[in-house]
């Protein structure tokens, strides 16, 4: 296993052995620990002292199902705190198979106009990875959909996988993501949140290409145990209604949640002014499935975003002439540009997603910021054409585009808006905290800012929560959120997609499988309790970094308007008190 350090100050690199301290870390656990150990908390996120760390999970690169996730970590230009954002992509699979446990990008070149790329390969004789540089300045200033084919062509004959930044990162936006290829070489898989693309851009690094030809694959200490666990995980995913073939996610994608949250009164609409959008059903997962069926003349089920995924939830949207418009219309993107902006046309939503993919923008942050801009009267609600023009302004770096590119919290301040749905500066995803109060606790307290993937539920009985505490008491609510955040931090370190949680919460053997897989790969003897403890330690490291970076419990709050403006149709406010929120990390 290797650490690869790429120093952008002098364009040198170094492969080193993995220090003992980090041997049992991977994914989010490794990115967060390395950032906490090596980045001074007061460092400017776009300065030379910040670092960008890539790390595949424990199971990434193995035959464990749905496990090709790559974690990207750094100090966030959006929140000013620690950030981990992860994506499912073939790139993750390849870096793991080259036994690179962490890739650390550090330093900063003096020449601000130049961009560089690296190609990481494998030297079979020396049995170690290799690295070569190329000048990537010619690819700057262009749309990712234009430059990806050129890069594959440049390295024709090699099995290249692409990670890059887009124009948004060249402009140093707070909402710029790190772009990864999908299985069909689309620039569509994003470590989107928190502006980590701009950290990469600030270092003059445009591309990280991988060629894993001849790579040995992941070392597994106890293959029999790993196989036992893997089989249990496969069985659980194939059995559960949400994750099985032609089940909820494979048929309707994540946008299957649009109609559900809308009926529940929890689908944020018109910049979080309502919990219900009258045209939600026209943009929902069911409408995507039926719309494609009508246009293509056949049913279209979803595809895998990365090698070995058996859930296969990534969709594509097709135009009237049957050509592909975009992949992927996720729930969050669909909502951000749909209900949140009162846009009811899937073709417009698809175009907005495609523009974000092309420019390197996080769809959630972009949509939430556009909602704030609409609130400010910069453009009208429901005007798809104006929204498309505004995203072009962001991509091209025009003045209003730059303001919106800075993210929801900052744009709200500049535009003088009071209804700014953000926590720690990060735009809030598609679940209204006034209607779904549990997620509100996690939005408020997560080390990441408002993040819908920070608190997944995998196995409450192992947390000691339900047996000891009333889940409706302040202690109970705080303990549940803390437990959800801890177990999520473990999954984010495992390389598995969070969606395995759907199956392993309900099918006990699936959860056993997760632990056996990890013990098989690492040679550990972790138990269910260790899963929680592992995740808790990750959260402590992240929290400590944030505190040293200047965060206090006052940042663990839901925006004021959610306490004072009743949300239709239930006409409720967010009534979880500060004491409860403070218990989440106060009692960790």
């Amino acid at each position: 296993m290797w650490f690869l350090r790429i120093n952008m100050s002098d364009r040198t690199h170094q492969f080193t052995e993995v220090p003992e301290k980090y041997k049992y870390f991977a994914g989010r656990a490794l990115t967060s620990n390395l950032i906490a150990d090596e980045v001074p908390p007061p460092a400017h996120p776009l300065g030379p002292n910040n670092k960008l760390v890539f790390s595949p999970g424990f199971m990434t690169g193995t035959s464990a199902p749905t496990s090709s996730r790559i974690s990207v970590g750094g100090k966030s230009p959006l929140t000013g705190g620690i950030k981990e954002s992860n994506a499912g992509t073939p790139w993750a699979w390849k870096i793991a198979r080259m036994r690179i446990k962490a890739l650390i990008v550090e330093g900063q070149p003096e020449d601000k106009g130049a961009f560089w790329g690296v190609v990481i390969g494998w030297d079979k004789e020396a049995e170690q990875p290799t690295l070569e540089w190329f000048d990537a300045t010619e690819y700057a200033g262009q749309n990712a959909y234009d430059i990806y084919p050129k890069v594959y062509e440049k390295f024709e004959g090699r099995r290249i996988s692409v990670c890059s930044i887009g124009l948004a990162s060249e402009h140093a936006y707070g909402n710029a993501g790190v772009i990864f290829e999908d299985m069909s070489q689309r620039p569509s898989r994003y470590a989107g949140r928190g502006g980590l693309g701009s950290v990469m851009g600030s270092k003059g690094l445009k591309f990280i290409l991988l060629d894993d030809s001849g790579a040995p694959g992941v070392e597994i200490v106890d293959k029999d145990l790993f196989d036992e666990g893997r089989k249990k995980m496969v069985a659980a995913l194939q059995e559960h209604a949400i994750t099985k073939p032609k089940g909820g996610l494979n048929t309707y994608g994540t946008a299957v949640l649009i109609n559900i949250l809308n009926e529940a009164g929890g689908l944020p609409t018109r910049n979080f002014a309502s919990g219900r959008f009258e045209d939600a059903a026209k943009i929902a997962g069911e409408a995507i499935f039926e719309g494609n069926k009508k246009r293509l003349g056949k049913e279209l089920y979803n595809h895998a975003c990365s090698p070995g995924c058996i859930i296969r939830c990534s969709n594509t949207w097709h135009r009237e002439d049957k050509t592909e418009h975009v992949s992927c219309v996720e729930y969050e993107s669909d909502w951000a540009f749909g209900a949140n902006l009162e846009i009811n046309d899937l073709d417009v939503i698809a175009e907005l997603i495609k523009l974000c993919n092309g420019y390197g923008l996080d769809t959630i942050e972009t949509g939430v910021t556009l909602g704030v801009a609409m609130e400010a009267g910069v453009l009208p609600f429901g005007d798809g054409e104006a929204a498309i023009k505004m995203v072009h302004q962001m991509g091209k770096g025009e003045p209003m585009g730059r303001i919106l590119g800075s993210g929801t919290g900052m744009a709200g301040k500049v535009l003088g808006v009071t209804r700014v749905p953000a926590v720690k500066g990060q735009g809030m995803p598609a679940y209204e905290p006034r209607a779904v109060k549990g997620i509100g606790i996690t939005y408020a307290t997560s080390t990441m800012g408002a993040d819908h993937t920070a608190g997944y539920t995998i196995a409450p009985e192992i947390l000691g929560v339900s047996a000891q505490l009333d889940p409706l008491s302040p202690e109970g609510k705080a303990a549940l959120s803390r437990a959800f955040q801890a177990t999520t931090a473990f999954i984010d370190s495992s390389g598995h997609c969070l969606f395995i949680a759907f199956a392993i919460l309900d099918i006990e053997s699936g959860f056993e499988g997760l632990i056996e897989e990890a013990n098989g790969v690492l040679g550990t003897s972790w138990t269910a309790d260790d899963v929680v403890n592992f995740g808790t330690e990750v959260l402590k490291v992240e929290r400590k970094f944030n505190e040293a970076a200047g965060f206090s419990k006052e940042e663990d709050r839901i925006p004021e308007f959610m306490h004072t403006e009743p949300l239709p149709p239930h006409n409720v406010v967010f009534e979880i008190d500060d004491e409860t929120l403070d218990k989440v990390y106060g009692e960790i």
């Binding site: 909820g248 309707y252 559900i260 529940a264 069911e286 209607a435 997620i439 409450p460 309900d506 149709p569």
Partner: protein, 121 residues
């Protein structure tokens, strides 16, 4: 007589009569005073096994594997939503949302206090 605003999602839109759109249907159904969810299902000619997640006025009343709402009495202008069996509502996106009393009681019988993503597996 009461009028119910019925929303039918996914393949259940086939019970929407002439009011069907791609992926959903919305129709008004007239029922006698005191009618229940069961009466509404009968009027739609929809077997209760075909529906999963169910809402009355934004309050969760049923999920696949738990249907304590068949005798739930409806009121004039109620909005009732029936979801197909491939829909989902994971626990972390449901915790603290509005739940009908009958469904809440049903969850209370669960030793894990209802902390599941699905109740049929």
């Amino acid at each position: 007589m009461i009028t119910i605003d019925v929303w039918l999602y996914g393949n259940l839109s086939e019970y929407g009569g002439e009011n069907t759109s791609p992926g959903f249907a919305n129709r008004k159904v007239d029922l006698p005073e005191g009618a229940t969810i069961q009466d509404l299902l009968d009027a739609l000619r929809m077997p209760t096994e075909e529906r999963g997640i169910t809402f009355v006025n934004g309050n969760l009343t049923a999920m696949p594997g738990k249907q304590p709402d068949l005798d739930h009495r409806l009121s004039d202008h109620d909005r009732v939503a029936f979801f197909h069996l491939r829909s989902m509502w994971p626990y972390q996106y449901r915790q603290g949302a509005a739940i009908a009393e009958s469904f809440d009681r049903e969850l209370g019988k669960d030793q894990r206090q209802g902390i599941h993503h699905s109740y049929e597996t």
